[in-house]
C-alpha cells in the first residue's frame, strides 16, 4: 500500500467515525449523568432509523422513497429520542437506584426486545436505505487524483454529525437545561438542593442521547445503503469501545475516540480485510484498558 492509499483509508474512516462518535457520545452522556450503562442505546438508535423507513414507506410508493434522506434523518432522530425515553422509563425509572445490575440487565433485555421487533417486522431481511445525496448531485465523488477522492455522502454525514455535536455542546454549556444536566452529573445531591429534578434530568438526557443516536442510525443506513438487525450488536460494541477509549463520561473524548476508531478501523480493513478488522479494534480496546484505563480524556480518580 502506498501513502495515498493510507490517506484514502484514514479519510474515509474518520468520516465514518462520525457516527461512532455520535453513538459514543450517547453512551457517555448517559453514563456521565446516571453513572450507568444503557446497553439498549444503539438498538434504540437503529429503532429510530427503522421508524424513518416505516414513515417513508407510508408516504412513498413502489421503489420510490417517500421522503428525502435528510428528512428521514430528522424522523429517525425524533423516533429514536422517543424510544430512548421508553427505554429510560422501562429500565431505569422504576428499577432500584442502588442496584446497578438491575438496570444493566434491564437494558440487555430491552436490547433484545428491540432487536426482535426489528427482526420480526422485516423478516430479518436487510432494508434498503436511501443514499444521502440521491437526486441532489450527479457525481457524488470529489476527486483530487486517480488515487484519492472524498465520497460526497460521507462528507455530508460527517458535516451533519459535526453540526449535531456543536448543537449538543451549546445545549450543555449555554442553556439552563445543560446546566441542570451537568449539575446532576457532577454532584447529584447538590443538584437536588438547587431544585433540580434528577428524574426529569435523567429522562431528558436519555432523549437527547436518543436523538443523537437516531441521527447516527440514519447516517449508518445512508452510508451502508441498508439497515439490518445484524448491525445492532457490532454498533453497540463499537459505541462502548469508543466510550471507554475516550474516557467514560467525556464528550470530547467520545468525539476524538470515535474519529480515531473510525480511521484506524479503515486502515485495519485496508491492510487485513473485513474478516480481521474488528479483531484489531478489540486489541486497541484491551491496550487502552491495560495502559490507559481512564481513556483519552477521563479522570484518573473519581471524586465523591
Amino acid at each position: 500500500m502506498e501513502f495515498v492509499d493510507y490517506l484514502q483509508a484514514v479519510t474515509d474512516g474518520v468520516m465514518q467515525g462520525a457516527y461512532y462518535a455520535l453513538i459514543g457520545i450517547g453512551f457517555t452522556l448517559i453514563f456521565g449523568v446516571m453513572n450507568k450503562i444503557n446497553l439498549a442505546y444503539a438498538a434504540a438508535a437503529f429503532g429510530g432509523a427503522y421508524a424513518s423507513l416505516g414513515v417513508a414507506a407510508l408516504i412513498g410508493t413502489g421503489d420510490d422513497f417517500g421522503l428525502p434522506p435528510l428528512i428521514m434523518f430528522l424522523v429517525s432522530a425524533i423516533a429514536a429520542g422517543l424510544f430512548a425515553w421508553i427505554v429510560y422509563t422501562i429500565c431505569f425509572r422504576f428499577t432500584p437506584d442502588h442496584y446497578e445490575l438491575a438496570t444493566l440487565m434491564a437494558t440487555v433485555g430491552a436490547f433484545f426486545l428491540i432487536e426482535e421487533i426489528a427482526v420480526h417486522s422485516t423478516a430479518g431481511e436487510p432494508m434498503d436505505f436511501p443514499e444521502v445525496l440521491q437526486g441532489i448531485v450527479d457525481d457524488p465523488m470529489i476527486e483530487f487524483s486517480d488515487a484519492f477522492a472524498i465520497r460526497g455522502d460521507l462528507l455530508t454525514i460527517f458535516l451533519l454529525a459535526l453540526i449535531a455535536m456543536g448543537l449538543l455542546l451549546m445545549l450543555l454549556y449555554r442553556t439552563k437545561l445543560g446546566l441542570a444536566t451537568r449539575a446532576v452529573a457532577q454532584q447529584r445531591t447538590a443538584a437536588q438542593l438547587c431544585g433540580i429534578s434528577v428524574d426529569r434530568t435523567n429522562a431528558t438526557t436519555f432523549i437527547i442521547a436518543g436523538v443523537l443516536g437516531g441521527l447516527a442510525g440514519a447516517m449508518i443506513g445512508a452510508a451502508v445503503g441498508v439497515l439490518s438487525p445484524l448491525l445492532f450488536v457490532p454498533l453497540t460494541v463499537k459505541g462502548l469501545i469508543v466510550t471507554v477509549i475516550g474516557g467514560l463520561g467525556s464528550i470530547p473524548g467520545a468525539i476524538v475516540a470515535g474519529l480515531l476508531v473510525g480511521g484506524l478501523e479503515n486502515v485495519f480493513l485496508a491492510l487485513r480485510g473485513i474478516t480481521e478488522r474488528d479483531m484489531y479494534v478489540m486489541l486497541l480496546l484491551f491496550l487502552f484498558l491495560a495502559f490507559r484505563p481512564q481513556g483519552l480524556f477521563g479522570k484518573k480518580a473519581v471524586r465523591d
Partner: protein, 237 residues
C-alpha cells in the same frame, strides 16, 4: 418560622431520628449541637427534603412541607449548605452560582451573582476557575454563596467549619453573623461548640436521635454543652 414536630427518620430499620421536635425563630441563629451519629445531618437532610420522615410534621411559615421534594422546599425559601460543601467540581465558580439560582426565574440572577462576588471577593477572583480546584475554605464560601443564590429566608448550614483552618472558621462565623444581621434566619449544625455558642441565639442538644436540651446559650455551662455535644449525656451512655 420552622416548626419540626416529632419527626422520625430512618435508614432502613435503623431510626436515626426518634421523634425530634424543635423550632427555629425568625431572624435568629439557632444551633443544633450533639455528638457524631446523633442525627444532626439527618435532621438537616429531612428538612431540606433529601430524606422523607417516616412520621412527624415539618412546617415552614405555617405551611406544611413534610415529605415534599427538595425543589419545592428550596422554592418555599429554605436552602441548605450541605455537609462537605458538595460544590460542582467541574463547573466554574460562576456556573455553580447560576445553578444555585436554578429554582428562580426572575431576571436579577446576574445582579445577585455580582453581589455574591462583592461579599466573597475570593470567589470573584476565581469566577472562571473550576470549583474543584478551590481550597476548602473557598469551596465553603462557594457553597454558602450557592445556597444564597436561591434567596432563602432560612439558611440551613451543616457543619460549615468542618476541616477548615482556624482563621477560615473565624471568617465563616463572621459571615454567618453578617447574614443574620441582614435578616436571614439561620439554622446551624456545628461541631465547634465554642464558636457556635458565641453566635447562637438559641441552641438544641441532640443525642441519639432525641432532643435533650433546648434553650439559650446562657442556660447551660459551656463545659456541660461541650461534654454533652462531644460525648453525650452520662445517663444515656
Amino acid at each position: 418560622m420552622l416548626e419540626i414536630t416529632d419527626i422520625v427518620t430512618s435508614y432502613g430499620k435503623i431510626e436515626a431520628l426518634k421523634g425530634v421536635s424543635l423550632s427555629v425563630a425568625p431572624g435568629k441563629i439557632t444551633c443544633l449541637l450533639g455528638p457524631n451519629g446523633a442525627g444532626k445531618t439527618t435532621t438537616m437532610m429531612t428538612v431540606a427534603g433529601l430524606l422523607k420522615p417516616r412520621r412527624g410534621n415539618i412546617a415552614f411559615e405555617e405551611r406544611n412541607i413534610t415529605g415534599r421534594d427538595p425543589g419545592h422546599i428550596v422554592q418555599s425559601g429554605i436552602a441548605l449548605v450541605p455537609e462537605n460543601r458538595l460544590v460542582f467540581p467541574d463547573m466554574t465558580v460562576h456556573d455553580n452560582l447560576r445553578t444555585g439560582a436554578y429554582s428562580r426565574s426572575d431576571d436579577e440572577i446576574e445582579d445577585d451573582i455580582a453581589r455574591m462576588f462583592e461579599r466573597f471577593p475570593r470567589l470573584h477572583e476565581r469566577q472562571e476557575q473550576h470549583a474543584g480546584t478551590l481550597s476548602g475554605g473557598e469551596q465553603q464560601m462557594l457553597a454558602v454563596a450557592r445556597a444564597l443564590m436561591a434567596r432563602p429566608k432560612l439558611l440551613l448550614m451543616d457543619e460549615p467549619s468542618l476541616g477548615l483552618a482556624p482563621l477560615i472558621v473565624e471568617e465563616i462565623f463572621r459571615i454567618i453573623r453578617d447574614l443574620n444581621a441582614e435578616g436571614t434566619s439561620i439554622f446551624l449544625v456545628e461541631q465547634n461548640v465554642h464558636q457556635a455558642l458565641k453566635v447562637a441565639h438559641y441552641f438544641y442538644l441532640l443525642e441519639q436521635g432525641r432532643v435533650t436540651f433546648g434553650g439559650s446559650p446562657g442556660d447551660l455551662e459551656e463545659d456541660e454543652v461541650i461534654q454533652r455535644a462531644y460525648l453525650g449525656s452520662a445517663e444515656q451512655t
